[in-house]
Amino acid sequence: MEKLVLILFLSVNIVAFSQYDSLNKLEEIVLYGNFSPDLNTGYSVEIITDSIIKNEINSMGNFLQNHTNLYFKQNGNGMVSSISLRGTSASHTGIFWNGIAINSSLNGQTDFNTLPINSFEGIEIRKGGGSVLFGSGAIGGAVNMRDKVIFKPDKNVLIQLGGGSYNTFKSNVLGLISGNKYYAKVSFNTIFSDNDYQFPDNDLNNENGEFKNYGINSAFGWRFNDKNQIAIYTSYINNDRNTSRTLTATSNAKLKNKNGRFLLNWNNIGNQYASTLKLAYLNENYEYFFDKDLQNSSLNKSKSFITQYNFNYFLNNKISLNSGIDYTHSLGQGSNISNISQNDVEAFVLLHHKAFLNFVYNISVRKGFSSDYNIPFIYALDLSYRINNSFKIKANYSTNYRLPTFNDLYWEPGGNPNLKSEENKSAEFGIDYQKNKTKFELTSYWMKNKNLIQWIPISSDFWQPENIQKTSGYGLEFSIQHKRMIGDHKFQLQAQYAYSVSKDDLINKQLIYVPFHKANSNFNYNFKKLNLNYNLQFTGKVYTTTSNSQNLDNYWLSNIGISYKFLKNDLKIGLRLNNLLDKNYQSVAYRPMPGRNFEFNINYKID
């Protein structure tokens, strides 16, 4: 009972730093891998816990849009949603699934509307240049989605049903059974929607916007003894989405993508070391129908076989050496790429040193080799210094890269096999404050990018990617959280703000679809079985032309939700109103988003 109330209370995202203190360092390494706060001491790591996630039936994109200061560019409601972290492009954030990089081998990005949130138990958002630990593309930062395998007796079935405007139906069924030696979890989720909302202030409907998404996810674990545990994770996601019309053009197109993911993870813990072996297989099918009523489509596929070994050795309480080696064998084929295969080997070493009680630093280097391109040598230094019980200073400097993708290298026509890696230099400086029930974090950053790959017209109908763009960026991030409890009344306020300047150095203009300002806040009030939540977000104007001559207006969005628990708290019924003020807004030009709409959800937990 108390636990459930606590879970409810935590139903606004929480930066759960405090959890680490109680965790043994080895266990922490095993749990968080390269996202472990110790290995990222000079960076901002935000951890979103399952108590928040499990209340939602939503796509990852919508969830993070509401709960973080990350910016998502959504190509219409439910359509392709791509992330922009610190003003970087969609392929400049490393996206991970249980520590395995899952950005598409084809286009280097992850579509956040294809990921169902409630099949995961944790999300880690680690901002700032991170290629040394996270490899290609971790320039703006890295985001990990995690299943949590825990060996303790538990057994439950969670049934979540939801629905709402535009014939939207959502469901998630999750079954879990675990003991001291084993763990098993299977979940099945669906989101279907006609998505045919009327465009605000317009006669048009969001025609051809229908989508059907489903996914099956599982995690199985065995603990052989205190030192060895194995987990097997699988995920299959199937998205079938028509691509909706715009204000000026109808569409009969369709996008189908299927992603299969498998991971075998073996952790071995000794007295002074932790080692993790990961064997993963990723499979991606991306099929585009110009006209969904015709058979013709363009289908491109990729497969990756990944072997990753991490070894962390603790010399003493103060010094640890952490290292990793990855071998990736990738294959691609399809309508626009001939049979190709690629081999990459990359390795890193990180020295962690707690020099004084209040001063910790990490030094790390990475080098890789590829069959297709040169992978640069990169390095990073990060540190944290605790001034007193409340204040802590963090700083880092890193060099980073993004490797060309299959589409960049081999797309027919145009792909350029002579592309080099994109290169980045990043630095940041931040202050953390925590006292009693208040916590805030202020971070400033700078970055320079060169050799960015850009598709440029060679003639009016022939484009080719070249390493020509140079950009630079700087910005400021601020987050604050405050909790208060008065009797049974629990209040929590959390707000975040990001200021991002990201410029093309050649023309000195802000990059398109990078808002200068993004802010969001959540206010949560809980009283016994009742919970109220109010979410307010602001997205600043974005430019839609490279000359910055045209822009989309900024917008405020607010959502409100209420829920109540019944049947000894096993049943929870919730109602939400999205876009409360019926704001007419666009995330991408000429693609209006839905006006005010409602949804309900029922969560039923059987122990």
């Binding site: 715009t246 204000l247 000026t248 053009a249 109808t250 110009f290 006209d291 015709l294 013709n296 027919e412 026509p413 145009g414 440029i456 017209p457 003639s459 009016s460 109908d461 022939f462 398109i512 839609t544 032309t545 490279t546 000359s547 001559s549 991408v588 030009a589 000429y590 693609r591």
Partner: protein, 351 residues
């Protein structure tokens, strides 16, 4: 107060009197855009609207004039613009429609759309008939057609099936010449449609990828063929085809296999085209290609039109922001002026 009223009444009377007696006054302007020329801008490819730029006398430039006048977007990818009679016709490719407006005021008259406008590309008019080339489904080589519009009622009266990828067109001696450029693929024909019977009377093989055509007014149609680009794996050089309007005889002049010219345009007796970032001039009677380009005119242009001894050529810059129009003196090659346009300036057309 009283005085004001009397004055107002007097002025009204005067105005009435003046306006009734202007028979021998010069004609009133027909609209803001009666003089000068237009540039139609395709607009951003994925989401957005094309726009119309007007350049008036004294080079007064007005952007986005269609939206200014009508308070609505023209549509997604304004592929082409043509003038006929009192009207302007906008071919809006990805919105699958033809928008008709008054050419002097830009006031919208109507929209022509439906199943007989499908992926429209170009428009040409002859008296009271308009002809639109349509790709249909770009992946289907067998559903391409020309729609015929009654320009009085603005209704489609019939369609004519043609080969794959009909593009630019021209009417001469009551024959409609249709470049079969190939759409997303590559074709190599010009189809001739007899406008008396509306049937394809002749299919002429020219070079690969015919991309532009002009008439020299002396009995010849000149068709510039770009050839297949190297990325197809079957690269072929460009060709310049001369078709006689009587007899439809074809003569071909070859470019090198790696040369892919485009944007054929004519200024009295001289043909001009764009090749490898240069502009070449060729006398329309010649049977061989010019050796060297015009000094001073450089650019991979997106559209090109010669007019009155000047060359109007557009630069789309990065395709994601405003392009520009450059005006060159054709005899000296000097750049006369540069005018900002909308996004992706694709057609230049003179009043």
């Amino acid at each position: 107060m009283n005085l004001l009223k009397i004055t107002a009444a007097f002025l009204t009377f005067l105005l009435f009197f003046v306006s009734c007696s202007e028979d021998d006054q010069p004609e009133l302007p027909k609209g803001d855009y009666e003089k000068g020329y237009f540039i139609s801008n395709e607009g951003p490819f994925n989401n957005g609207s094309g726009t119309i730029t007007h350049v008036g006398e004294d080079d007064v430039v007005s952007q986005n004039i269609y939206k200014t006048v009508n308070d609505e977007d023209l549509g997604n990818i304004v592929q082409f613009m043509a003038l006929s009679g009192d009207n302007a016709y906008f071919v809006v490719n990805n919105s699958h429609k033809i928008v008709v407006a008054n050419r002097y005021t830009m006031k919208k008259i109507t929209t022509i759309e439906g199943e007989n406008i499908n992926n429209p590309r170009y428009f040409v008019a002859n008296n009271d008939r308009g002809y639109v080339s349509n790709w249909g489904d770009p992946l289907n080589p067998n559903d391409d057609f020309i729609s015929i519009i009654d320009l009085n009622s603005n209704e489609i009266i019939s369609t004519i099936s043609v080969g794959e990828g009909p593009e630019d067109m021209l009417i001469e001696n009551n024959d409609l010449y249709v470049n079969l450029q190939g759409g997303w693929s590559q074709n190599n024909k010009v189809e001739v449609i007899d406008l008396q019977s509306n049937i394809v009377s002749n299919t002429l093989i020219v070079g690969d990828v015919p991309n532009s055509l002009v008439t020299d007014g002396r009995g010849n149609i000149w068709v510039l063929c770009g050839g297949k680009p190297s990325w197809t794996g079957f690269e072929s050089g460009g060709k310049l085809a001369k078709i006689t309007t009587s007899g439809h005889m074809v003569e071909l002049i070859d470019f090198d296999v790696t040369e892919h010219p485009e944007h054929l345009t004519i200024n009295s007796e001289e043909l001009y085209y764009n090749l490898n970032g240069k502009v070449y001039e060729m006398i329309a009677q010649s049977s061989s290609l010019p050796e060297s380009p015009i000094d001073g005119i450089d650019g991979f242009f997106y559209a090109m039109k010669a007019n009155n001894g000047e060359l109007f050529a557009t630069d789309p810059i990065d395709f994601q922001s405003e392009g520009s129009l450059k005006v060159f003196n054709l005899s000296s090659g000097a750049l006369i002026e540069t005018i900002q346009t909308g996004i992706l300036p694709g057609t230049i057309i003179f009043q």
